[in-house]
């Protein structure tokens, strides 16, 4: 991963009013990653992202994008970065096309690019309507279109589904999932919901109270989230002893048997044993420790309330 790092921060710190909003964050994003940047509201995601884009200055630490220092080569870096920060930016009195044209003139990309990005976000039909009449979802899609306009190598999307209804969220998610396949970009996407990035991210970083508390592949996170089988039976304590004496590794808590090995053969073996020993099996259910619960465990719940 380190061989082709596109974005790297070292001890990135931002102090606002004496409080460290971002505290010694070390991010590393490789080329082609879809990096899920997770954390409860107020954890420091947006502040971090604003620093990555040069919109705010770090108190301490360094940021390198494409191997260049953001303090020295901000403009060269931003040429290859597309972004959507917090809320979509738009000029309400202009149409979708005019909004894109205003940014296109800054980027100096061909005019045809406007039609391309509009069709990617499926706004072609509404291209010539004033944006103030757009729904939040449409504005969000226009924001993504703006981010895509310069054909960026790095796409930074801060809470792109914030404030959308479930249908809108689904739409944005499908849209983002379809992007890397089309253009091979690296994507940094922040969210306060793990479930939102779970299906698309290849790597995740979790930030809480300004500190990066986890950074690894999504697979590692999934491994931690393995489920277990719960069995409710008659006479649980006796049943538990029986199972143990036959070499099954099961736990017993609050009158329910639990097995952490959940492959079919093990479960079948346990059930067969129980039936053979004349216990009544009422329920066999899978309890999946969701990524969500791991996420909550790591970040604590107070931040999200």
């Amino acid at each position: 991963m380190a061989s082709d790092t596109i974005l790297e921060t070292k001890d990135l710190t931002k102090r606002l009013g004496g409080k460290k909003v971002v505290d010694g964050v070390n991010l590393a994003i490789g080329r082609g990653d879809i990096y899920g940047f997770l954390g409860p509201n107020g954890a420091g995601k947006t502040t971090t992202i604003r620093m990555l884009l040069g919109l705010a200055k770090p108190t301490d630490g360094s940021i390198r994008v494409f191997g260049k220092d953001i303090r020295k080569e901000r403009i060269a870096i931003l040429r290859k970065v597309g972004s959507l920060v917090e809320y979509p930016s738009y000029y309400g009195h202009l149409t979708a096309v005019e909004n894109l044209e205003a940014i296109r003139r800054l980027l100096g990309v061909p005019k045809a690019r406007i039609d391309e990005v509009l069709s990617i976000v499926r706004l072609t039909k509404d291209a010539n309507r004033a944006v103030k009449g757009f729904s939040l979802g449409m504005k969000q899609r226009l924001g993504i279109a703006t981010a895509l306009l310069g054909d960026p190598e790095l796409l930074v999307l801060d809470e792109p589904t914030n404030g959308l209804d479930p249908a809108g969220i689904q739409e944005i998610r499908e849209l983002i999932k379809s992007l890397p396949g089309k253009s091979g970009v690296t994507i940094l996407i922040s969210s306060h919901l793990l479930s939102e990035v779970e299906q698309m991210a290849t790597r995740v970083g979790i930030i809480s109270k300004g500190k990066l508390i986890y950074e690894d592949s999504i697979q590692r996170l999934r491994d931690q989230a393995k489920g277990r089988i719960r069995l409710s039976v008659s006479e649980p304590e006796a049943a538990w002893r029986t199972l143990l004496s036959h070499g099954h590794s099961v736990g017993w808590e609050n009158g329910v048997l639990t097995a952490s090995q959940t492959d079919n053969r093990t479960v079948a073996g346990i059930v067969a044993q129980l039936v053979k020993a004349d216990y009544e099996v009422y329920r066999v259910e899978e309890e999946s420790a969701s990524l969500e619960s791991i996420f909550l465990e790591m970040t604590g719940t107070e931040g999200s309330l």
């Binding site: 200055k57 403009i75 917090e86 009195h93």
Partner: protein, 242 residues
């Protein structure tokens, strides 16, 4: 820089700003058409006095503030600063272009007023040749004297999210103009009074208060304070967290 200008053009070309450009010249034209003295010795200069007094005292400083506010309003409202500053442009460019636009709008206003004066003159059939030198000095001087005020108002408009706040400041500080202009001590240093001092012709006994100071002195004060205010606003904007 040019790309930046062309990008701004998209944003303002369908803005209400264009209606405001017309307000002051139209009012001045009405003044001129109905109240101008056709028989005087210097009909052009008298008409200039008549038509520019309200403009220079009130509308010019007010419009400077309104233009600055309007040019920043759509950036504040829709998060435009973010998308613009996350683009490959320098903040200095953004700020300079905004300032140039404020001055351009003021230039258009001045030109329209100039045109209104010429029309009034032709309509009344003024005697004597058109005093181009005096007229040009007046309109150009009024425009140049807006530099410090434009710098201050752009600073305020960039710093304050609200559309109304910089305008309120502007109105409050514009109203005492007629009083401040009477003070030879403070008049030349008040950015809200400077346009009036520079624009009103000084021929007919207008030698009271701050009108006494020479055009050269005024110009030095104007340019000096402009540099100061512009540098302050620009430094602020360059460091501002968006």
């Amino acid at each position: 820089m040019w790309r930046m200008m062309r990008s701004e053009w998209i944003k303002i070309r369908r803005s209400v700003i264009w209606l405001l450009v017309l307000v002051s010249p139209l009012i001045a034209a009405l003044f001129g058409l109905f109240a101008a003295n056709k028989e005087g010795d210097f009909p052009w200069i008298e008409a200039l006095s008549l038509m520019s007094v309200l403009h220079a005292m009130l509308f010019l400083p007010l419009l400077t503030g309104v233009y600055a506010s309007l040019l920043c309003r759509y950036e504040h409202a829709g998060g435009g600063w973010k998308s613009m500053l996350a683009s490959p442009v320098s903040r200095t460019q953004v700020y300079v272009v905004k300032f140039i636009l404020v001055m351009l709008m003021l230039a258009v206003t001045q030109l329209l007023l100039f045109a209104a004066l010429l029309l009034v003159g032709f309509a009344h059939g003024f005697n004597g040749p058109i005093p181009w030198r005096e007229l040009t000095t007046s309109f150009a001087g009024g425009w140049v004297a807006c530099l410090p005020l434009a710098a201050l108002q752009l600073f305020a408009s960039v710093a304050l999210q609200s559309f109304a706040a910089p305008l309120a400041i502007n109105v409050v500080l514009t109203l005492p103009n007629i009083l401040v202009a009477n003070s030879a001590r403070f008049g030349p240093y008040d950015p809200w009074t400077q346009p009036m001092l520079a624009m009103l012709p000084r021929t007919q006994g207008q030698d009271y208060g701050a009108f006494n100071i020479s055009m050269e002195t005024l110009l030095i004060v104007v340019l000096g304070s402009f540099c100061l205010f512009f540098a302050a606003g620009w430094t602020y904007f360059a460091k501002k967290a968006v």
